[in-house]
Subunit: 113 residues, 2 copies
DNA sequence: ACAACGCATAACCTATCGGTTGTATGTTTG
DNA sequence: CAAACATACAACCGATAGGTTATGCGTTGT
């Protein structure tokens, strides 16, 4: 758990902490879309959408590919999985707590939670 | 996918988008800790840690229980799972895209969306 | 009783966020 | 070539984030 992995976690969760970005991510996970195609779906400026795409890209949740004058974005499911695995770590920690409580109950049977 | 569930998703991801808060969450998932016990672990003021705990609480990632003058925090693993399920939804969307590509290949068509 | 502890809250500061407009640059297309 | 299109980027703006200090108030221990 170095400093860099914390930076990456910060970027990933921050990128996901905005509903417009989550919606963009859904679309680009379903298939490639140009930035202007995406921008057309939202009630905000092209530049605003462009910035959202940039945040997702810096977090590694999507990649861009140039095609003529268009910039095609596609979602990276591996990045989504890496977030899921961070949550799994939290689940493991929680299970560890339960295991410890179980040990207490087994060794000494008059405790409560 | 109402407005409220988006609010909740915003709050959850935002709460997780800070390394101090993720660390606090790990500790309270492992077991109950008072706010001042938590605050002692970090190089910042009690008030700062208190605010981090409040953010986690508003997102539903932890709950507080009063015990005398202490406020004991415990992590809520169900909230963690609800985040994981949001990521699963993204995975499903991604798999849908693959399925669609497979259909295109199978039917050997030349149309797009 | 009173000092120390644990917490809540308000006021404040700086940096970042999420949005805007304006301008410039490369790419198609008529 | 010129017009329209897709993008990039800078400058700006109000709101929020993340931190601080100060103050007050209930709870505990001596």
């Amino acid at each position: 758990m170095t400093d860099e992995s914390a930076d990456r976690a910060d970027a990933l969760f921050h990128a996901l902490a905005d509903r417009t970005r989550r919606d963009i991510l859904r679309r680009v996970l379903a298939g490639e879309h140009s930035v202007s195609t995406l921008a057309a779906k939202y009630d905000m400026s092209f530049t605003a959408v462009q910035k959202h795409v940039a945040v997702l890209e810096k977090a590694g949740l999507l990649t861009k590919r140039r095609n003529g004058r268009e910039q095609l974005a596609r979602g990276d499911v591996e990045a989504v999985r890496s977030v899921a695995s961070m949550l799994s770590e939290l689940e493991r920690i929680w299970r560890g707590r339960i295991a410890r409580v179980d040990v207490l109950i087994a060794s000494n049977s008059d405790q409560e939670d």
